[in-house]
């Protein structure tokens, strides 16, 4: 192959030799102004996904004797992070963290949640007894149970029980009034929740609301006079969601999967066997007891281990850690295994869905 000359022999050599001096000149000519500390995209990102938000209770509305709608506004001058209809927030009291779906819609700016005495957890108890103006810290909006137009299309069915009603209402209200979208809501619950049923009132014509006593009539309700829905959202207790999903098992009812929000992911009936748990974190080691009927994550939180967690249903992977010694039972929520294939191969677990079967050693 002959030598390829681009401009001329001497000019090519000259330009080659000039490469570094040219670079030096360009750098020399540049501004010496100090570099920025912040960038627009990074600031927006932090605004969209804050770890924590300081809020104040701006209103408390009693739905019935045991249920309240509590609304949070920002306690500082910043606005609350926007959320997607169906998502929720985590609230931590002491060592206990609970997830609450937001019942308001993104346009409301404030977050409203439904708190029920039936939940019997420390966070709900504190919230039910809190006055207006009480300040507290909540997480940023989180969760994969949300409506996406591009994915979920224009024909949506929502099925919920009392514990899953908040996210269903949020999605309904978000889609209310959209002429091109039809929504069918099936609420499964007793007559004694009139306040909750009332939340579905005053929605526009594109939302059809049905109440069923139990899961038996769901399939019929969901499918009667309806073309194939583009999305099916089920929210409520683990047993309810499982039973509901099973109704659609053998049908081509929807094009995608059934999306689920499970309100009580931790339930497991097992003996209260006690094990020892050792956590390696950075160059420290923590030891404590854990129980066969609690998730490892619950044991970590009870013992103030600096762990990360968001969803508690195995989906988000924030609590991912390596099982160094011992054995756990992984209990899946909604039948979907959300472990990365490589994480499985390398012995990682999601503590939020792992119940100890032996003494345990993990590395965070």
């Amino acid at each position: 192959m002959g030598r390829l000359i681009i401009r001329s022999f001497s000019e090519d050599i000259k330009n080659f030799r000039n490469m570094i001096p040219y670079r030096k000149k360009k750098i020399e000519e540049a501004s010496a102004t100090a570099l920025p500390r912040n960038y627009g995209v990074n600031e927006l990102s932090a605004k969209l996904h804050p770890d924590k938000q300081r809020v104040r209770i701006s209103s408390v509305e009693a739905l019935d004797g045991r249920t309240k709608i509590i609304t949070f506004s920002s306690a500082d001058k910043t606005s609350l992070a926007p959320f997607r209809a169906g998502q929720g927030i985590n609230i931590k009291v002491g060592t206990e963290t609970e997830f609450f779906p937001v019942v308001s819609v993104p346009d409301d700016k404030d977050y409203s949640i439904i708190v029920s005495a039936a939940c019997e957890d420390a966070v709900s108890e504190l919230l039910l007894n809190a006055d207006e103006k009480t300040e507290l810290e909540i997480s940023g909006p989180t969760g994969l149970f949300y409506y996406s137009q591009l994915r979920d299309g224009n024909s949506v069915v929502l099925i919920c029980d009392f514990s899953g009603v908040a996210s269903a209402i949020s999605i309904c209200r978000y889609l209310s009034g959209r002429a091109d979208t039809s929504v069918r809501v099936i609420f499964v619950g007793e007559e004694e929740n009139p306040g909750v049923c009332g939340l579905f009132e005053n929605l526009s014509e594109n939302i059809c609301f049905f109440r069923e006593k139990d899961t038996d009539g769901i399939y019929e309700r969901a499918s009667e006079n309806m073309n194939t829905p583009s999305a099916l959202f089920v929210s409520g207790k683990d047993a309810f969601c499982g039973k509901t999903a099973a109704l659609f098992d053998d049908s081509d009812f929807i094009r995608g999967r059934i999306r689920m929000y499970i309100s009580d992911p931790e339930t497991k009936n097992a003996s209260a066997e006690k094990y020892s748990c050792q956590v390696l974190y950075r160059n420290e080691s923590f030891s404590f007891e854990c129980f066969a009927n609690e998730t490892l994550l619950a044991a970590f939180e009870r013992n103030n281990i600096p762990t990360q967690a968001k969803c508690k249903v195995g989906e988000c992977g924030y609590c991912r850690c390596k099982l160094v010694e011992g054995d756990v039972e992984s209990v899946l929520c909604n039948g979907i295994d959300s472990m990365r294939s490589a994480d499985k191969k390398y012995g990682f677990i999601h503590p939020c869905r792992s119940f100890p079967k032996t003494d345990i050693k993990v590395k965070l």
Partner: protein
């Protein structure tokens, strides 16, 4: 206070590669990662029954068994991890679709220089000779640079430089300028330029040497993907690091680097923990290091000026689709799809600043290389583009989710129009990563996923040739391991940049 030989900031490819080499050579090493997951741009996430690559997917220059030199595989061999990871070969180099009316082009190009040149001849008769000449030039460049980089006498270096001359004559020029001297049909030149989006530099600007190094490494040394996604490589690198007594701390964000008398001393974590180290290796952008981590008074003027002279390269945008039809049913036969509205790369590069004019994308169907990438009857398709502006910082928080979805829908339109394959009706899972998403998980400024733009004065060659001198003038014992450094960003190049950085640290220690 804990003390280490080297602290590495960032457990991405560059950081883990660097830490592994150091630990293997007996150093006490700590890698600090702000996120809950190691890997940065390499890794995976789940949605429903699908597992997606975060962004990086194929390792170019993976290596051939008969010709392993210069490949990423030889680095993995050095670490002893090549065979611990299950690899899947990428079946062909790329399918490129140019849908510019009148200049339409739809070509599927194979790996292997011979095969590539022959295929180009089929699509564009009269191109084989020119195409072979380009690859031969590329090989001359590679051999010359390899010689220059080795500790051989200066005379031998000069001899290598002058012998064939391919390198010295093309080094200062762009792809377009070199192509103008090659007798080849326009169509063949368009095929040659297909990979430009992987560097995010138009062919009028990108140095021929840099482009050719990448093209050669793809075409000659082929590419491969880890079967369990990039997270497998990352998990393997972490395990290898720990087996050599190296440490990785997750959820450990560095907020400061202490510098005294021009020498870096320690890093400070968000929770106040201080860690002393002889060397600090940054696997993140110099903008972040000199703008946020180090006290302004301690930053040398040269570094500030250099950073100010630079421009960020593309900010990433990816649409991930889990489709409930198989790749075969949909007709997704190729692994990589380069989709261009036309091959005026300069024009397209500038149009990639606004969502309404950005029609360029590289789409990947994982199942084409790994049929078991998703359950039977489904497949994974992801579409990536870049923004060459700060458009995404002008979006408000309130409109963010709808803007993001709107543009994702646009990208699906473009894909469907170019390939004539309908995917919209089969979306079971959807996720969208915007520049905000990349900023959130990696801290990268403006969501940049491609490091600094390779301007005419700031190409891979100029960076490599100035590295020693510029390091000498910088903060002592402070290093950069990532693609923000001399090799620019890329999957394989970030790994080799990390490796080379480790050898620089070891050489300095030896002195």
């Amino acid at each position: 206070m804990v003390k280490y030989d080297t602290v590495v900031i960032g457990a991405g490819n560059g950081g883990l590669a660097c830490a592994n080499v150091l630990a293997k050579n007996g150093q006490k090493v700590l890698v600090l990662e702000q996120s809950h997951r190691p890997g940065g741009f390499a890794g995976s996430f789940r949605r429903g029954r699908f597992e997606f690559e975060v962004s990086l997917h194929e390792l170019c220059g993976f290596g051939r068994y008969d010709k392993p030199f210069g490949s990423v595989r030889s680095f993995f061999d050095y670490l002893g991890i090549s065979d611990k990871i299950a690899w899947a070969d990428v079946p062909e180099a790329f399918r490129m679709i140019n849908f510019n009316p009148g200049k339409e082009l739809d070509v599927t190009m194979p790996f292997g220089i011979d095969e590539f040149c022959r295929k180009a001849e089929e699509y564009a008769p009269g191109s084989e000779k020119g195409m072979r000449k380009l690859f031969a030039l590329g090989e001359e460049c590679r051999l010359t640079v390899e010689k220059i980089g080795k500790p051989v006498p200066m005379v031998a270096k000069l001899y290598a430089l002058m012998k064939k001359g391919g390198f010295i004559h093309t080094a200062a020029y762009s792809v377009d300028e070199v192509l103008s001297k090659i007798d080849m049909p326009e169509k063949a030149k368009d095929i040659f330029k297909a990979y430009w989006i992987y560097l995010d530099i138009d062919t009028e600007t990108v140095s021929f040497f840099h482009y050719m190094s990448m093209l050669n490494s793809y075409i000659e040394l082929k590419s491969a993907i880890p079967v369990c996604r990039s997270q497998e490589l990352i998990n393997c690198l972490v395990e290898c690091l720990e087996s050599n007594s190296g440490e990785l701390w997750l959820n450990s964000k560095v907020i400061g680097i202490d510098v005294a008398d021009g020498i870096c001393k320690k890093v400070i974590l968000e929770d106040g923990t201080e860690i002393e180290a002889d060397n600090i290796v940054c696997n993140c952008s110099p903008h972040l290091v000199y703008g946020n981590l180090i006290d302004k008074k301690s930053v040398p003027e040269l570094e500030v000026k250099k950073a100010n002279a630079r421009k960020f390269n593309g900010r990433g945008f990816v649409v991930f689709l889990g489709l409930n039809k198989s790749a075969k049913e949909l007709g997704l036969d190729s692994y990589s799809y380069f989709i261009y509205p036309d091959m005026d790369t300069k024009k397209q590069h500038s149009l990639m600043s606004r969502p309404e004019t950005n029609d360029v994308q590289a789409a990947i169907c994982l199942n084409a290389a790994n049929p078991e990438a998703s359950p039977e009857g489904t497949c994974i398709l992801s579409m990536t583009t870049l923004f060459n502006s700060d458009y995404w910082s002008e979006v408000t928080a309130e409109e963010y989710f709808s803007k993001k979805e709107e543009f994702a829908s646009h990208m699906i339109d473009v894909f469907e129009k170019a390939t004539n394959i309908r995917v919209r009706d089969y979306i079971e899972e959807l996720e969208i990563a915007s520049p905000e998403t990349f900023a959130r998980f990696t801290g990268t400024p403006q969501g940049t996923i491609y490091g600094y733009h390779s301007q005419d004065w700031d190409g891979a060659l100029q960076r490599a040739m100035s590295l020693a001198e510029e390091t000498e003038k910088g903060i002592k014992n402070l290093y950069f391991a990532s693609g923000w450094g001399e090799k620019l960003l890329g999957y394989s190049s970030a790994l080799t940049a990390g490796r080379d950085c480790a050898f620089r640290v070891l050489r300095k220690e030896k002195k």
